[in-house]
């Protein structure tokens, strides 16, 4: 059965085109996804991300549990409100999911995991948590709205109560705080996102979500759909679970090595497999591609290299660059001279360092 977020009627009233996304009926766009993309790059846009799963972890040994569960180190989280991006791996080093963990108190952490992996994640986390006596509680009572863009923070801050506004205005990137929204609604405001722009992701009790959405719209935040979200995150060089990585790839093979903390003596799930693969050194790698010719790189297309075939993971048209960009997984040592098989025609592509776009502009070399 298709699930609906509390904002479903709001999307339909705006004339959104709805699609099934991981079992959820979600807006792909409200008209032009390219215009929505530009609205986020140039001003402020908002996404209903209520389909994402909020999981609260409670118990005296929660930090110890997360040291075991996550490939990144929660010991980097020293101040309440601080957030960390991490992978959760299986014993083979494959990625079960990627997530954000918030440190709220020594005995209370919050995870936000993907929608499409909800059941698998909850089962995995609950199973691992048992040995640590950590209580795992999904929070379906929360909705989530991501407000992103150069003017996003100012627009959100304008809706907060005077005292919490000052506090929320000061939080740094990857930090969250409690705040009070319109009509006293309690909000959890995090300076995180999935677009490469500044902004907030706001966790709001479901009963206030429609009012918050409407107030954001009133102050000129443009509703944006999953279509724009996908092109924004790809330009920003951010992975999409299920497309760029899953259990069949390790963080080394998904360009997520920067999220793995091999700190001494920490025995996290998948560590042994990761160390073995790293020592081997000949694993596949994920690279960024730009195509200067016309056409669009798409998921599943074959990438031809001197070391054998690879494949396009996320591929799309980049509205900011006006050409196609992609992530690809290729054999070790594949080099820079790659070609992509598009409907039987081999088209040259360039390997580039990504992100492709930062601060609304093309990055050097892209």
């Amino acid at each position: 059965m298709t699930q609906k977020t509390i904002l479903n009627d709001s999307h339909r009233a705006l004339g959104a085109k709805m699609v099934d996304f991981g079992g959820w009926d979600m807006p792909i766009s409200y008209g032009s996804q390219i215009e929505e993309h530009h609205a986020v790059r140039r001003d402020a846009g908002m996404f209903d991300v209520s389909h994402m799963t909020v999981v609260d972890l409670a118990g005296a040994r929660t930090r110890e549990f997360l040291r075991h569960l996550l490939a990144n180190s929660v010991d980097k989280l020293k101040v309440s409100g601080k957030a960390l991006y991490s992978c959760m791996l299986d014993e083979q080093g494959g990625v079960v999911d990627d997530l954000i963990v918030y440190y709220l108190a020594e005995d209370f952490f919050r995870l936000v995991v993907n929608a499409a992996t909800r059941e698998k994640d909850l089962a995995w986390i609950t199973r691992q948590a048992a040995a640590f006596g950590v209580k795992v509680a999904e929070r379906p009572d929360y909705a989530m709205i991501a407000v992103q863009g150069p003017n996003a923070r100012d627009k959100v801050l304008g809706l907060l109560s005077a005292d919490t506004r000052a506090k929320a205005a000061k939080i740094g990137k990857f930090v969250a705080t409690d705040a009070q929204g319109p009509d006293g609604m309690p909000l959890f405001v995090a300076r995180t996102g999935y677009t490469g722009e500044d902004g907030f992701e706001i966790v709001v009790p479901q009963q206030h979500a429609v009012a918050l959405w409407d107030r954001l719209k009133d102050v000129g935040v443009a509703p944006a759909g999953l279509g724009a979200r996908d092109t924004l995150r790809l330009e920003a060089g951010m992975n999409l679970y299920g497309q760029d990585m899953d259990e069949s790839a390790t963080p080394w093979e998904a360009n997520l090595g920067w999220t793995v903390a091999l700190d001494e003596g920490r025995d996290f799930i998948g560590r042994a497999a990761l160390e073995r693969q790293k020592a081997g050194g000949d694993h596949r790698v994920m690279v960024g591609l730009v195509m200067d010719e016309k056409g669009v790189l798409r998921h599943g297309q074959r990438v031809v290299t001197a070391r054998g075939d690879g494949e396009i993971l996320s591929g799309s048209f980049s509205p900011t660059l006006g050409k196609s960009i992609a992530f690809a997984r290729v054999p070790a040592g594949a080099g820079d001279a790659l070609q992509v098989d598009i409907r039987g025609k081999l088209v040259p592509v360039r390997v580039v360092k990504y992100p492709f776009v930062r601060d609304g502009k093309a990055c050097d070399g892209v």
Binding site: I28, S32, Q33, I34, G227, T231, V296, F317, P319
Partner: protein, 132 residues
């Protein structure tokens, strides 16, 4: 949604065909199809002189979301293509039945193949039923 012009014929796969006074057939994709695809960013057209067969793919339109083959509504020879489209594919979003035309075919077997196509009412019913 743009109104469907009465002088068009349609394929179930959402191509339209207009028989011009001089007997050639102008082809494109329907307004409904451009709506389904979303913002178009790339068009691959056949070459003038190509021979096409009714029901076979002869062009590609790509939106941000997806690539879609375009089928020839009738058989014949390509006698013109819309050269303005590769640089401005969004023209199809803006005017699918006018400036967004894709190619013109000089038909081989028009009378017979025209019978296979849907009239505007039948096509209207088809997209209506797809929407529900």
């Amino acid at each position: 949604m743009q109104e469907i012009p009465g002088d068009l014929k349609f394929m179930k796969s959402h191509e339209w065909a207009r028989v011009e006074d001089k007997g050639t057939v102008t082809c494109g994709i329907s307004d409904h199809a451009q709506g389904l695809l979303g913002d178009l960013v790339y068009v691959e057209l056949p070459s003038v002189g190509d021979t096409v067969k009714a029901g076979n793919a002869c062009a590609v339109v790509e939106s941000v979301k997806a690539a879609s083959d375009v089928y020839a509504p009738v058989s014949g020879e390509i006698v013109a293509v819309n050269d303005a489209l590769p640089d401005k594919p969004e023209t199809i979003n803006e005017d699918a039945y006018g400036d967004g035309w894709l190619f013109v075919i000089k038909p081989d077997n028009l009378a017979e193949e025209l019978e296979e196509l849907l009239d505007p009412d039948a096509y209207g019913e088809l997209i209506e039923s797809e929407d529900h």
